[in-house]
């Protein structure tokens, strides 16, 4: 039960964002997460996750794939610290983070 | 060690320290100088009354005996866990006590803390930890919380905390851990008078705990973080 799980995902392709300052949304708290979005070199989107809830890798992958499909962004790195947030909350924070760096679709 | 033994080892018969309940107060003569002693005993639970009493004693020293060294004898089980104390602003009383110790330091009183028995969480913050430097006897106990209680509150496995405490001084009770982290400057082992002598001789009152924690390897990042803020 104890112990964190670390997950990494990478998605290729998408629209490369104009330069932006890193943004942080959310808080590391029970059922919540923080998302840090930073510029990254390359044409993909990299996601690194530390989560206190083990064993949900496939769900993370599905949630992030959906996120990448919705926004289609490249050239950014997303770092997540999670304390058991549900996919609904994860998706919401990801959307908020993209809005915070001005990357939301018009 | 009980406080009369500590007093005896430090001052011989040459002291007038009196215990009134859990409260210790008095003066002692040390190598020709008079030292003011304020402290607690019986594993005192420090509530509003005891905090104010210590504060008053310290203010009296500042008012009446400029420059006289202050020795804080620490034996506390922590703050008193009563509704009355919360109602009466125990945090305020403790802050007041801390401010009085801070005043004494600024007015030129050497302020030396000695944990001679036990020092737990809240009761320790405004006594030994507010001294110029805090020292301890090797057999003293310093902690926030025992490992089983910590496991319960943090909902972490006790075995994990036990095993981590072997390598990381952050987790487990123990005087040695506090020395390694810089919270306790030295252990007074055997010759207590030598410890007091050395403490009185050290007149640098800057808070060196983070640096010492880094040097001793018990608290590796705090000092660096402080420096980085200054340079940011």
């Amino acid at each position: 039960m104890a112990g964190m799980e670390t997950l990494h995902f990478a998605f290729d392709g998408g629209r490369v964002l104009a330069p932006f300052a890193p943004a942080l949304v959310g808080v590391v708290a029970s059922g919540n997460l923080e998302v840090l979005v930073e510029p990254a070199v390359g044409s993909g989107c990299r996601v690194d996750i530390d989560t206190s809830a083990r064993g949900f890798g496939p769900i993370w992958e599905a949630v992030l794939r959906d996120f990448h499909q919705r926004h289609g962004l490249a050239g950014l790195s997303v770092s997540i610290h999670d304390m058991g947030a549900t996919p609904a909350v994860v998706s919401l924070r990801l959307d908020q983070a993209i809005a915070a760096i001005g990357g939301a679709q018009p | 060690m009980d406080w009369p033994s500590v007093a005896n080892r430090l001052f011989g018969q040459d002291h007038a320290i009196v215990a009134d309940g859990d409260f210790l107060c008095g003066t002692a003569s040390f190598e020709g100088a008079t030292i003011a002693v304020v402290g607690t005993t019986n594993h005192a639970a420090v509530g509003v009354d005891l905090a104010l009493r210590q504060a008053r004693a310290i203010l009296a020293v500042v008012a009446e005996s400029p420059g006289r060294p202050l020795l804080l004898l620490v034996d506390t089980q922590g703050q008193k866990l009563r509704r009355r104390d919360e109602l009466l602003g125990i945090h305020r009383a403790m802050a007041h006590l801390g401010c009085c110790l801070d005043l004494a330091r600024r007015q030129g009183h050497p302020v030396i803390g000695l944990v001679y028995d036990q020092a737990l969480s809240g009761g320790f913050i405004t006594s030994g930890l507010m001294a110029d430097a805090c020292h301890a006897l090797p057999e003293a106990e310093i902690r926030v919380m025992r490992v089983p209680a910590m496991a319960r509150v943090t909902k972490l496995p006790e075995a994990l905390l036990e095993s981590l405490s072997l390598t990381n001084p952050v987790f487990a009770p123990g005087v040695a851990n506090y020395v390694a982290m810089g919270g306790v400057r030295s252990l007074w082992d055997g010759d207590l008078a030598a410890g007091l002598r050395a403490a009185l001789a050290d007149r640098d009152t800057a808070d060196r705990r983070a640096r010492e924690g880094a040097q001793r390897g018990g608290r590796r990042v705090a000092d660096d973080v402080m420096r980085r803020v200054l340079e940011a």
Binding site: I59, A62, G84, T86, P87, V89, Q96, A99 | -
Partner: protein, 557 residues
Amino acid sequence: MSTVADSPWTRQRSNRSARLARAALVNGVRAKTVSADAVVALLEALIEPGDRVCLEGDNQKQADFLARALTQVSRERVHDLHMVQSVLSLPEHLDVFELGIASKLDFSFSGPQALRLAQLLGEGKLQIGAIHTYLELFGRYFIDLTPKVSLIAAQAADAQGNLYTGPNTEDTPAIVEATAFKSGIVIAQVDTIVDKLPRVDIPGDWVDFVVRAPEPAFIEPLFTRDPAQISEIQVLMAMMAIKGIYAEYGVQSLNHGIGFDTAAIELLLPTYGERLGLKGKICRHWALNPHPALIPAIEAGWVESIHSFGSELGMEDYIRARPDVFFTGPDGSLRSNRAFCQAAGHYACDLFIGSTLQMDTLGNSSTATLGRIAGFGGAPNMGADARGRRHASDAWLKAGREARDGLPGVRGTPRGQKLVVQIVETFREHMQPAFVETLDAWKLAEQARMPLPPIMIYGDDVTHVLTEEGIANLLLCRDDVEREQAIRGVAGFTPVGQARDRAMVDKLRARGVIRRPVDLGIDPRDATRNLLAARSMRDLVRASGGLYQPPRRFRNW
């Protein structure tokens, strides 16, 4: 008299007379009034082995003193009772089985005692007749489960035995009516005995004995939801409910579940609902307990009437000051009535919305979990189409049209349908999926040897499934395959949701069977707690002009 006693047609009445004669000999019994310390002896004199006994345990109000007394009777004299009561709430409700005083149980809801009930059943300490809905159990009080002795609770009595129940009338009229008019015996515990009652809720000649309890009857504030605990996701789902269902159908009359998700809807009416111009067009009439979360909507003029199953602690003064909205007596306080309100919720409401723990791909939902026997309470009556309904309303007609449009023969006969909405987040806390391929209810049925799996709301009654991912309108599904994909299509990232047929889900979305927030013109990022008309208990008190006085455990200021 003797001829009457001997008649084969009046045995029940004779038996009643014999019991009353025994009771009259008990020390401390003076006419109808019984001293508290004589109650155990009274029960021993009145109750016979094998009696059907109703120990008033309502959703909120508990005859706790009489419950304690019943656990103290001699089991030599009183045993094998058949308990019939709507709610098992107090430990004493099960102690009587543990002690061998009672052996059989018919009930509706046992949430607080669900675990122990399952254990006692497993140990063979009791036999369950059936688990009912409230209306169903009340119905059986008048058919085949009529109580011989009823132990009830009221706020006050007078010397004649007239009872004043105060705002928590709840089940009392149904219980007393069934008992008193079938030669049964009614014993009431009251908080006080007064010369003149504020109003009469139960006439004195239906009541045999009155005892003043040492402590006021226990009442639990079950319907108070602290707005501080409503999440952003719940706000989002509430926006979807208002815009995608309430507005769409023009829902005028409704019942809400007790969760935070429905509290969020109540708190969004005066803000988001107002912005959509819906005031006066939806949510005018309610079958609902006096939820504190409804105060802002009431104050903003949204609500015309509320009839209640029971009351809610702290709402007394507010209700008293709003008699145009609530049902109140001449004394000013609320008159609740669970039986009538259940009937009203079933027949007179256009919509029910509530939550569940699990839903399968057929839309069946259940709150049953392994190792616990909790029952259903009122949800199955609220959450079921009222097949006997004949009066029309726009919402009811539209739902009926959607369900029947294009169907041949008898299935296409025009009629209306009740909107039954299940509102669930796809994952509950600790990442428990709300959507499952098979309900735990099936395993529980096997485990507890139930004749049927304990399904709370049947899939064929559910009209809409609302999750943070979207709304599935099951009325528009034309077969079980569509239905299944519509449910999978809003089941998010749960395994059930990930197993969707994507092409078919896209088609259902194109047809409007599935609607995403964006299809409704809702941006999830707008779903913040700032939309709530009250974000704290304090805000509710303020909204009530200081009339709402929440219980102490809800006051953080």
